[in-house]
Amino acid sequence: MTSRMIVIGAGLSGLMSALALAEAGLRPLLLAKGYGTTYWTGGTIDLLASRRYPNMPLHTALTHLIVAQPEHPYARMELDGIAAAVDRFRTLTKAAGYPYVGGLERNVVLPTALGALRPTALLPATMAAGDVRLGGEILIAGFHELRDFFPPMAAANLQAQHIPARGVYLTLPDGYQRHDYSPRSFALWFEQPNFRQAIGQQLRTLRGTATRIGLPAVLGLRDPLGVVNDLQQISGAQIFEIPTLPPSVPGMRLMNIFHQAITVAGGRIQIGSEVRRGLGAEGVLTHIFSEAAAREQRHHVAACVLATGGIAGGGISTDFRGTVHETALNLPLHAPESRQAWFASRFLHTEGHPIFSAGVPTDDQFRPLDSTGHVVYANVMVAGSALLAGDPVEDRAVSGLALTTGWHVGTLLATSLPAQLAT
């Protein structure tokens, strides 16, 4: 069997790595247990909005972090590395008809489904009219049948923050009643012109003095921009999407785009293959073993990107004795010593919970290190939430960290290991 470039994990970091490797002509194989956390998050790309760097534009905050935390992945990529990844992501999504707006200069602030004001660096164009700086009254509209979006609650919280808002419920047109509803079923309905027409008319009637209308992020899977444009035409107001609870329709859109791009570039994605262990010799990873249908499959490794995620993604597991474990290759981790030190006393603790900062320490080439500071495998690089990078949720950097490190590591690997790959 010939050795391959392997990417483990199908979240944003794994997908970006696989894309970089595929575009370099290296025909990567992406192995993943499932579709990853992409389906769990709202589809915006959050680079940084940390309490540690308050009241400054995004660009300045990133610069501060790079100086203050030289071992942070962002510092290892530097601003140029971050920008390169963002550029590639923007051209990718634009080409797929699902363009993102925003960038490294400053964060855009968008209303959440709870009516909070949330900063993000990059957002799909379908969310752009949510930008709070645009002013004017906002109408938040949803459906009783979609149980994960409550317009009156979001509107009340926006009002409390001095943003004029109203929350209303829409009525499902006749013929769309079901025994159960999911975000995906709504997304498919919004692709039907009749459904859009009926909803657009209701929005027109209900909008009153509102100039913008926020809807749950379920406005179509394949052509959400078309759906938004159409609803704008009919309703006479600007339309924007608001992400809500998983499964995330924006996440599904991204997954489709990546799947297409990676496959076209010569990569392969194999979902349902959980990597359980690796085998190495003399500081080089030679094989990994995945499990599918209760059988073990052996893969000969040329080089590998570990993009399995953190505790949410399943890349890091824990047990009741307080052991913290990297699940795919059993790499050494930095984690709190004992269970007593894992948590702060409050869920919404501003410093986060220490256990969620667990991660794989790496060198500046993103290669895993052992406790003595030596590289474990020279042909393995780590990306995304598996990295030691503080608590990305507290830093509001989950998707940004995944996207940028994924691309960076993919391109790094594509350029740094010609010798091994030639064999």
């Binding site: 956390t37 769990w40 709202g42 959050d46 959440t112 489904a113 709870l114 009516g115 909070a116 004001l117 949330r118 009783h144 149980r147 994960d148 409550f150 009156p152 609650m153 009340a156 919280n157 009002q159 409390a160 923050q161 001095h162 929350g167 209303v168 419920y169 829409l170 009525t171 079901r178 025994h179 159960d180 509803y181 209900l206 809500t244 609870l245 998983p246 953190g310 505790i311 949410a312 597991s317 824990t318 047990d319 009741f320 004795r321 307080g322 269970r339 007593q340 894992w342 948590f343 006393s345 409050r346 869920f347 919404l348 501003t350 256990i355 969620f356 949720v393 507290e394 509001r396 989950v398």
Partner: protein
């Protein structure tokens, strides 16, 4: 806050909204005696809502506490008749594991016979056929009539019945003082925690049914009741690896029982005396110990997902001369303060089990009724508690059957426990829920493996819409057409449901950290992604002022955990 003093007068005032107090309220009301019950938290806030849910066969006490064993066996039969909708007839095994004295079984059998606790020895093969997850190395198995009881829902059922008979049940009413006139306790000064209002409730008799808090209540009248709050920690595992209650066949000890209840199996318990029933925590080594003991009964136990850990405080009455708290009797004690202390008007009842709540209520009500000259006999042993889906024993499939019959898949607010929108709205409307825990206790919302990740947001929003509709007379339809609209103005604080949500997330965390590892930790991280990353709850400003209707932070009902 208003602090006007309101005067109420009744024949009997009961302090404590656990099983015993509620049972007494129903009994009194059924005998036509005017009754008010006050509880500082929601009903079952105390120990009733914090135990493993065992309906005792009596087996656990046959050797150490024979009187309690006989009472349990007797009441077990009665409760199955009068409140079947809250009881699952799981049956129970006492099993001899390799860590237990093999001769204990003979003593156990004899003691069961001596105390009228029905028992039969069955073969190990038969036991393993019925419970394949049990440790195959067990050597003897004794079958008893243990069951699982829903202490939350039954409390609401008893309270409903008591109200129908005329009792007033007041939750979130905190007793601040007992008022004495000479050698008689004549009234209680009570604060309504929702409004801040102080009420003086005069009563001919006051029943102190405050359980582990009975000592604190008695002290308000200058009297002494020695209650040793015995903290017991339990862990609910997200799997019914057994459908029968499993006990170790040995002297009762820590971590020797597994109770299958609803969708989970609960392992219990530890027993640590704590100085104050309001201040205790769950220690990591207690949790580790319980997990390892579980492994002895069910190999692979530690690989299941631990859902939550909690601790309750047993209301053990301290007699003279007992040194080990586990040796304190589980039997109950009725204290007539007129006889013991020369102070009339107050009776205390302490000790006992959930299983014997009805008997305890009957006994104390007999005393009170006699003194009030009421000769109506007690009917609680015969009269069935109404309510519930059907007058039959509860079984696990009830909720699913309900959802299927009503084709309510699209109406599920809590997917883990199959709680529908209608059930949540009913619970809100009936109780006027003062926090999400109230809804949880009545519906099991948020008790499943997602830790409330999805349903908490939904329930908080539904509560908020219900409140808006009530306060602004706006119809917010939930299963039909229309557009209930209320335009809040900028002077209003945050949406009220948001405070509810924030409080629930914070409070729940305390109970979760003790068992947070593996998939539970992963789930917690997903919930962080939902509430912080997607919803940005941490970015909302704090509420402008306290919402008086939300009882969330009041010190009287805050239990301090130290994890």
């Amino acid at each position: 806050m208003t602090r006007t003093q309101q005067l109420l007068q009744t024949d009997v005032l009961i302090i404590g909204g656990g099983a015993t107090g509620l049972g007494a309220a129903r009994d009194l009301a059924m005998r036509g005696i005017a009754t008010i019950l006050v509880e500082k938290g929601d009903l079952t806030h105390g120990t009733t809502g914090r135990y493993h849910g065992l309906l005792h066969s009596g087996g656990r006490y046959v050797i150490k506490d024979p009187q309690s064993a006989t009472e349990c066996a007797h009441e077990n039969r009665i409760l199955r008749k009068i409140m079947p909708q809250y009881i699952e007839a799981t049956g129970g095994f006492f099993v001899t594991t390799p860590w237990d004295d093999p001769d204990f079984g003979d003593k156990f059998m004899q003691a069961c016979h001596a105390t009228d606790v029905p028992v039969q020895e069955i073969s190990v093969d038969e036991a393993l056929r019925r419970e394949p997850a049990l440790n195959p190395k067990i050597s003897r198995v004794f079958e008893v009539e243990d069951g699982a009881a829903d202490s939350f829902m039954s409390a609401y059922g008893i309270a409903r019945s008591a109200r129908e008979h005329g009792a007033q049940i007041l939750n979130y009413h905190f007793v601040k003082g007992l008022i004495r006139e000479g050698e008689r306790v004549v009234a209680a000064e009570v604060e309504d925690l929702r409004t801040g209002e102080i009420k003086r409730i005069g009563a001919t008799w006051i029943l102190n049914a405050a359980g582990a808090w009975a000592g604190k209540i008695a002290a308000l009248a200058g009297l002494r009741v020695d209650v040793v709050p015995g903290k017991g920690t339990m862990i609910a595992m997200n799997h019914r690896m057994v459908n029968t209650v499993i006990n170790r066949c040995k002297m009762p000890d820590d971590g020797d029982i597994i109770v299958p209840i609803h969708t989970v199996a609960v392992i219990g318990t530890t027993d640590i005396a704590v100085p104050d029933p309001d201040v205790y925590g769950i220690e990591p080594d207690e949790v580790t110990f319980l997990m390892e003991e579980g492994e002895k009964l069910i190999p692979g136990f530690t690989r299941y997902r631990a859902l939550r850990a909690w601790a309750g405080v047993r209301p053990l009455y301290k007699q003279e001369g007992v040194t080990d708290d586990r040796d304190l009797s589980r039997a109950y004690v009725l204290i007539d303060h007129a006889k013991r202390d020369g102070i009339d008007g107050l009776l205390s009842i302490v000790g006992g089990k959930w299983t014997t709540y009805r008997l305890m209520a009957e006994e104390i009500v007999n005393v009170v009724a006699a003194r009030l000259g009421n000769t109506t006999p007690c009917r609680t042993a015969e009269e069935v508690i109404p309510g519930g889906e059907a007058q039959q024993l509860y079984w696990l499939g009830h909720n699913l059957a309900h959802v299927e019959q009503h084709q309510a898949f699209g109406e599920l607010i809590c997917e883990c426990e199959l709680v529908t929108r209608e059930q949540v709205l009913d619970a809100i409307a009936q109780s006027g829920a003062a926090n999400l825990d109230d809804i949880r206790r009545e519906t099991r919302l948020g008790m499943g493996p997602c830790q409330g990740g999805f349903c908490t947001y939904r329930a908080a929003a539904l509560w908020s819409e219900w409140r808006t509709a009530r306060d602004h007379d706006v119809h917010v339809p939930y299963n039909g057409h229309g557009n209930g609209q209320h335009q809040p103005d900028a002077s209003e604080p945050n949406d009220p449901g948001t405070e509810l949500l924030r409080h629930f997330l914070q409070a729940r965390w305390k109970g979760l950290t003790a068992i947070m590892w593996g998939d539970q930790l992963r789930q917690a991280r997903l919930d962080q992604l939902i509430y912080l990353d997607t919803l940005g709850i941490d970015l909302l400003p704090d509420a402008a002022g306290e919402d008086p209707e939300l009882v969330t932070h009041h010190p009287a009902i805050a239990t301090e955990y130290h994890v």
